[in-house]
Assembly symmetry: C2
Homo-oligomer: 401 residues x 2
């Protein structure tokens, strides 16, 4: 049932323990659901209540602690022995009196780890300010360390099996993009295009069923393309609009994001002018990336190329991507931006998204690449271009030819 | 463009300020995207980076603070004046050096609120332990108070316009459920049923386009029905399986959850025995709920009825629901459980989910109701029953009759 061989989980655990040792962390309390999944295989939409995977440096197995009703999932969907699955009663859920982190602290004390150095993920969504307060209160003799990204940094380099899952996610991403693009024509609502995209994301292919991506398909159109994170609405596409589709295919929680910009009819002069620059810049970066470069140097390749075109970009160009859960598919480690000194190594994977946003329009053409032994390769072969859906070429059954 | 009249936003803001005054909070820094939306209209998938809406007790307008690239969305999608939209540069994003909360603290100091009493949402997903640390560090002269649920409690009672949006969400929920159920038969993959459900959730109806729900459709089948929060997989349905569908229709971020259990072929004896008890219990609760009761008393109605049947349930029976964002559609205020003293009032809305999970099966039949002047009413009319899809009655084109 597990998506990886048990040996792979054990190797991940060993790497985690080596990093814990290096950082002086004896007990690692993980709350990032991607890290929990990475080490245990646990996969459920239970991260909206407090839960944790606890790695103890001198214990062979991690401990899962979560809500009573979720424990059966932890027993059946992980390689952890049943006795290491510990659950809290339901009255701890969203209560002003009881807090799951106080329960977890008690458990750590009971099993003799109340006075150790505890690493926590200080800046993660699923480790709130109060979670930290309650954990500290219940473990007065423990020492706390910020262990943010300790596991995320191991996740930077993917195994061959992880790459295989991302290749499947890429096939799903391409299919969803292609099916979504087909539906874009005047008078179609954003929500109907989104529905088609999500259908294919979830259904996947006959060989590989899709999983839900950590971010829903983003689909701004018209002037809304000037803002990156607007989700779909009931707005209908109009001739002359551009539409940005940013989506990810997802397979067993591994993501391959992909973005394209679609013009409804002939593109505006501005879009026609800017699109080739973006594509040239992308081509140049894909040609340049190789192991040994830093993430900052990748950004420099883009920046130098764009400077000649008079184009500047404030935001980062991309980020490490792979296994994840809502609300983000990015791994929060390496970013393709000035000053990031992460050295590229084979099987690192990045979403490269040199998007540009202006006052009343924007353009996004993005791909996800893998660093190879000699260079890099895109996970997708979807044409790297501004897509033009010309509404004057609609055939009898409403399809754009 | 805004989903509510500006007067409604101003009333919400006034209520918030009255509660701030009562709790001695002068500056309220909201990080819950539902609360941000509730007061400002802001709606985007930007909550994966730090952002806040700041309500200052003696200022007429809230201040939105977020990432530079999201500011154009805040300008165009809220009723806040442009000068109250403040953005931080991209190098603050997921950086080990810079933190957006330090930026926000600096802003509060610059505009003269560095020494006031600041309320924060201590147990919210989007207010991490580190966010709190950095905010405190940057505001050494401020006093901090836990203002968790301050706005959520206002959200408990819906306006007529909010109820109208939930009615539209209910129509979408029923359609998605009905279309999903139709696809369930032997050898169909969970992911294909999920794809159909999500298609209808997003597309909605010709009148009302759907929005993305805060939780994806949950769709365990077979033995996985013993665990509530498993998402879909590539598993194919088998004759004799049961399948649980828990979904929500969503309209302009307002949710109406709905769950049903579907038997693939004739149900097991256990399911046949338990289903009528669950439905009887639901009927009894829907008959009993009226304004003036407490949430705890609602739970008691259920518990007394079930005791006669020898059925016990550990988890809460439901919770307040409405406007929300991932990872949860529940509002984290009132729960239908023993000891909850919230008094029911007209236009409170609850997801009533008396689900039961056993060692190797489970049953979920749930509905969302509104408290009315005299009693309560379900948002949906979808038959309250165990659904039996008998694979022996498949017609020529594969549809179950």
């Amino acid at each position: 049932m597990l998506p990886f061989d048990i040996v792979e989980y054990q190797e991940r655990l060993e790497k985690t323990k080596r990093r814990m040792e290096a950082k002086g962390v004896e007990v690692l309390l993980l709350t990032d659901p991607a890290n929990i999944n990475y080490l245990s295989g646990y996969d459920a939409w239970s991260f909206y209540v407090h839960q944790a995977l606890v790695v103890i440096i001198d214990e062979p197995q991690p401990i899962w602690i979560g809500r009573h009703q979720d424990a059966s999932g932890a027993r059946s969907k992980t390689w952890i022995y049943d006795e290491n699955i510990i659950d809290y009663p339901d009255y701890y859920v969203q209560s002003e009196t009881y807090h799951p982190m106080a329960f977890m602290g008690e458990i750590l004390k009971q099993i003799g780890h109340g006075n150790r150095t505890v690493g926590v993920e200080m800046d993660h969504y699923y480790f709130s300010a109060k979670a930290y307060q309650r954990l500290i209160q219940s473990l007065p003799d423990a020492t706390f360390k910020d262990a943010s990204l300790l596991v995320n940094e191991i996740r930077l380099i993917k195994s061959d099996q992880e790459i295989e899952y991302m290749k499947r996610a890429a096939i799903i991403a391409e299919k969803a993009m292609s099916e979504g693009v087909k539906t874009i024509r005047p008078d179609v609502r954003e929500c109907d295009t989104a529905a088609n995209i999500y259908y294919h994301i979830a259904s996947g292919t006959p060989e590989y069923g899709g999983d839900y991506p950590a971010i829903v398909p983003l689909l701004p159109s018209g002037e809304n393309t000037s803002t990156p994170h607007l989700t779909w609405s009931e707005r209908t596409f109009q001739e002359g609009d551009s539409v940005i589709i940013e989506l990810a295919g997802c397979y067993k929680r591994y993501h391959v994001p992909l973005a394209r910009t679609v013009s409804v009819g002939q593109p505006t002069d501005m879009l026609q002018q800017i699109a080739p620059f973006v594509i040239e810049g992308m081509n140049e970066v894909f040609d340049a990336v190789k192991p040994g470069m830093t993430c900052g140097e990748v950004e420099e390749v883009w920046r130098n190329k764009m400077k000649k075109r008079g184009v500047e970009k404030e935001a980062r160009l991309g980020y490490s991507v792979g296994l994840n859960y809502p609300p983000d598919w990015g791994e929060h480690t390496a970013s393709l931006r000035a000053g990031d000194s992460t050295i590229l190594q084979p099987n690192m994977t990045f979403h490269f998204i040199p998007a540009l946003w202006y006052a009343n329009y924007g353009i996004e053409i993005s791909e996800t690449f893998r660093v190879t032994e000699e260079g890099c390769e895109s996970f997708t072969t979807y044409p790297r271009e501004l897509i033009i859906n010309d509404p004057f070429q609609i055939d009898a059954d409403g399809k754009i030819s």
